[in-house]
């Protein structure tokens, strides 16, 4: 026995929760607490069967409305509305469960879910939406019972039928959903967050490198970008974002780079399809070294940095062409003076070390080797905590504490190179990436931000060096992510790819690439032959089976089938199941059929086969029957 009242109660609570949850992170503190409280209190009141009357609820609604309206400003339109929606929802839950109240709860929940889409376009929205649709459909059906008689009680199996049938309603509407998805306009960024600029967090590498500011680098695990490309050797996974080439006081910053002409690196081109997370950054990272980027309007600076024309504050994608190379050749040399400038303060210990190397007679490559040996000898270790701070953080890193992160390694090395007379610059970006085999893409997160060095050698060009690699105990990038996390990430990725940044062209692309992938499947050698043999072996079996299943009946069977078909044509829908032939013929009062039956029955019910002459006569009767019929 199922009480409809109880069922409706449970459904209403579920709907309110589904409406509240997606909006919850964006609510004000009062509204955030008010709804769960109201929910519990409402349940208690329902249980005691003493719901608050409208005489209490309506004035309190008005008071709450005034309270929130007081805090209303034009730029707080959405937060105030969201809070109000949730508070009203809570108030409704306190009242009695009449049809009207339930419908209001349903509508408010739907509005709450809609409001949440102003803040975020995560794939969870779809989950909540489908859940809410399902619950609403069931609840509306249950509500019709409830409005008929609130105390109605259904037997268990009947309730089951009602529930299962009403669940089918939203399922049936799914194709419609798909259709609307195709035609309705959409936004690629959450409207409210975009307008206020809250979501645009500053991510990834910084455009200022100044070690010694803090003693601890906080680990943030936000996603920076996802890049669809083939798998790349771990030691070559460097995502180039920015080049820092000068100083502002003691900090490495980016100055307008001097004119130089980089030759395109030689080697195999690797294409990537990159989906950066929305951010305030203008730099477009790609695998080191990128030669071209397309898909967004961008500009390439002489030092191989790509900048977008605008901020990447909505979901976009771009394609990059890279060659995994350690060297970038430059035609016609570089502005040596620019790349040899020093900061305002250079620690004495470092200046001495630089002078030691900067002697005529030692070629630049040798100086780099010596410096590398020096780094090794210092036994520096990689760390992100208890970093050297103070007046001379670099000197402290090199000679005293001997621990630091990539910023220490890179800026020390680049500075020492400049002191030693080798032009150098810092390159900021990301190192590593978690390969999601399911989606075929690299996932690059915030904590993979990295800085390395490029040194200029005459006749070679800009040479890639990662001094952090010389550290003792360099943490191996976390190659394996949890399988579940990978699946979830892939789901979110595809949601963004197929739904949020959907356009028809891209959809076609997806289909095409799927087709290509299917075409490129390589089967192990011999598979084709084995399959063919198997098929040939199965063919007779299948043929035999087919013949057995639809083997031609006896002559009697066939002629009867034809007659019955003709009869069905003349008397459509009149033949009932399990009726004798004579009986049918008499009932239909069909003279040709009667003739047929008497001739046919005389053979079949007398245990003999129809002879040729009889068959001919039966055929004649059928022919006549058809003529008369038409």
């Amino acid at each position: 026995m199922v009480k409809i009242k109880l069922l409706l109660n449970v459904l209403t609570v579920c709907i309110a929760v589904v409406g509240y949850l997606p909006l919850q992170p964006y609510l004000g503190p009062f509204a955030r607490v008010f709804l769960p409280g109201a929910l519990l209190l409402g349940l208690y009141l329902q249980w005691k069967e003493r719901p608050l009357s409208a005489r209490v609820l309506t004035p309190s609604s008005i008071i709450l409305f005034l309270f929130f309206a007081y805090g209303f400003r034009m730029d707080r339109l959405v937060p105030v509305t969201a809070d109000l929606l949730v508070v009203f929802l809570g108030v409704r839950l306190l009242g009695e469960r009449s049809g009207r109240n339930s419908l209001q709860v349903f509508a408010l929940s739907l509005f709450c879910l809609a409001a949440s889409s102003l803040y975020s376009l995560s794939e969870l929205f779809l989950v909540y939406l489908l859940l809410l649709l399902l619950l609403l459909a069931v609840s509306l059906v249950v509500l019709t019972f409830h409005s008929h008689d609130p105390d109605i009680v259904l037997p268990r199996d009947q309730a089951k039928t009602v529930l299962s049938v009403s669940t089918l309603i939203p399922v049936a509407s799914l194709p419609l959903l798909l259709f609307f998805f195709l035609i309705l306009p959409r936004t690629q960024y959450p409207l409210w967050n975009f307008a206020t600029g809250q979501a645009g967090k500053k991510t990834g590498f910084s455009d200022v490198v100044k070690p010694g500011e803090t003693s601890t680098v906080a680990e943030v695990k936000g996603v920076v970008l996802r890049a669809i490309c083939s798998k790349v050797p771990e030691q070559q996974l460097y995502w180039r974002g920015i080049v820092l080439n000068g100083f502002k006081e003691d900090a490495w910053v980016r100055l307008p780079p001097p004119r130089e002409f980089q030759l395109p690196p030689k080697g195999e081109t690797l294409s990537q399809e990159i989906y950066p997370e929305p951010s305030q950054s203008i730099y477009l990272p790609a695998l080191n070294v990128a030669s071209a980027i397309s898909g967004v309007r961008n500009e390439k600076t002489p030092d191989g940095v790509f900048t977008g024309r605008g901020r990447l504050d909505k979901r976009v994608k771009y394609n990059a062409e890279s060659v995994l190379s350690d060297v970038v050749q430059v035609k016609g040399g570089i502005d040596r003076d620019f790349y040899l400038k020093l900061p305002a303060n250079v620690p004495d210990r470092m200046r001495a070390k630089g002078r030691e190397l900067n002697r005529p007679g030692i070629p630049a490559a040798e100086r780099m080797r010596l410096l590398e040996r020096f780094f090794h000898e210092q036994k520096l270790s990689y760390a992100t905590t208890r970093l050297p701070v103070g007046a001379d953080p670099l000197g402290s890193f090199l000679f005293d504490k001997r621990r630091g992160n990539c910023e220490y390694f890179a800026s020390c090395y680049a500075l020492l190179l400049r002191l030693a007379g080798v032009p150098s610059r810092l390159v900021g970006g990301y190192r590593g990436g978690t390969y999601n085999a399911m989606g075929g893409y690299y996932l690059v997160t915030e904590e993979m931000a990295h800085v390395w060095v490029e040194a200029y050698l005459d006749g070679v060009g800009w040479q890639f060096v990662d001094p952090s690699a010389w550290a003792i105990g360099l943490p191996r990038p976390n190659e394996r992510a949890g399988a579940l996390r990978m699946y979830l990430d892939a789901a979110g990725f595809y949601w963004n790819k197929a739904v949020v940044t959907y356009d028809l062209e891209m959809q076609m692309d997806l289909v095409r690439s799927a087709g290509n992938k299917a075409r490129n499947i390589r089967l192990p050698a011999g598979t084709a032959r084995m399959l063919a043999t198997l098929l040939i072996a199965l063919l007779p079996v299948a043929a035999l089976l087919a013949w057995y299943l639809r083997r031609p009946g006896s002559a009697e069977e066939r002629v009867l089938k034809r007659m019955l078909r003709a009869v069905e044509k003349r008397h459509p829908g009149e033949a009932r199941g399990n009726e004798g032939l004579f009986e049918l013929a008499a009932r239909l009062n069909d003279s040709e059929f009667r003739q047929f039956v008497s001739l046919y029955g005389d053979a079949v019910y007398r245990d003999r086969h129809l002879n040729r002459e009889e068959l001919a006569r039966l055929d004649e009767i059928i022919r006549k029957h058809r003529q008369h019929g038409s």
């Binding site: 069977e557 009867l560 004798g580 008497s598 079949v604």
Partner: protein, 315 residues
């Protein structure tokens, strides 16, 4: 064209004439009686009094030109009241056998369940054997021979209901049922037609009737497919969960014989499955013995359900 069955037109003409002129609304019962006559069986009419059982039997006998005898059963009816007895003839100085009512072609046994078992038993024996032995002398009963026994299903006091085993002796058990409204009104206007019926001329010659009976027995063919169908009905009644005892072999034989008669009346020299199915309603139900806990259920409904399950063989 197919070979015509002997005398089938004449027999069907009797049926048509009787049911359209004299016995309106009793077509089904008449047809079943005729089938029983043609296949040498007997009929148990089970219905309330006053629906024209006697009238029908009389008209049937007159129209076929057959002799008619009637026995009204009472609890003190003796077997010799039916079979007849020897009476001493003083002038000739010997016993003469005076034939009882059973020595007629058509015998109406009214309210058979009022007779005591001894009398019932004698009667049933005569039906089965088609002869009567009185004081050591065996007398053959006339041919054709048909017993129409009636039984009142409502009365209970002072009756000896026929046991199931003896019900089996009747080929067909049927009711007559109230006539349709129009016909009943017409009957009300006309009043009883008992006198008219006695004046119905014979519509068929005796030789023709005998030949028809011989044709049904000898020339109507039952094929394998229909035999299979009959057997599947028998098996279904034996395996049915509500039924204690299904159709016996005698029941099966009766079903086939009745079906043959039905096929004959449909002018066919072979039995079609629908003949079997149509007569099954009259032939089978009274032979089924239900489990004690299910005695109340309607036997015909169960049989209908069984028949609906078994497909008619058409190829």
């Amino acid at each position: 064209m197919l070979k015509k069955l002997a005398k089938v037109d004449e027999i069907n003409a009797v049926l048509t004439k009787l049911s359209s002129q004299h016995l309106k609304g009793k077509h089904r019962a008449l047809k079943l009686c005729l089938m029983a006559l043609l296949s040498g069986g007997h009929v148990l009419l089970e219905d309330i009094p006053g629906l024209g059982k006697t009238t029908m039997a009389l008209a049937f006998a007159s129209a076929l030109g057959l002799s008619f005898g009637r026995v009204q059963c009472t609890s003190d009816l003796l077997p010799s009241d039916i079979t007849g007895l020897s009476i001493y003839d003083r002038t000739e100085g010997r016993f003469n056998f005076i034939k009882g009512p059973i020595f007629n072609n058509i015998v109406l046994i009214d309210e058979i369940n009022r007779a005591m078992p001894k009398t019932q038993s004698a009667l049933l024996e005569a039906m089965e054997e088609r002869r009567v032995t009185v004081e050591g002398v065996t007398y053959r009963l006339p041919d054709p021979f048909l017993v129409l026994a009636t039984q009142n299903p409502v009365e209970q006091v002072g009756t000896y209901p026929l046991p199931e085993s003896q019900m089996d002796r009747f080929l067909i058990r049927t009711g007559i049922g109230y006539p349709p409204e129009e016909i009943e009104k017409e009957i009300l206007k006309q009043g009883s037609i008992r006198d008219d019926i006695l004046r119905i001329p014979a519509l068929v010659r005796h030789e023709d009737l005998v030949e028809a009976i011989r044709t049904v027995a000898g020339e109507v063919y039952i094929g394998d497919k229909v035999t299979d169908y009959v057997y599947s009905i028998i098996r279904a009644t034996r395996n049915h969960p509500l039924i204690l005892t299904g159709l016996s072999t005698r029941g099966g034989i009766s079903l086939v014989e009745a079906a043959k008669a039905a096929a004959y009346l449909h002018e066919r020299a072979f039995v079609a499955p629908e003949d079997v199915r149509d007569v099954a309603h009259a032939v089978c139900p009274h032979r089924l013995i239900f489990r004690p806990e299910h005695e109340g259920v309607d036997k015909e409904q169960i049989l209908n359900a069984i028949l609906k399950e078994i497909p008619l063989p058409v190829t």
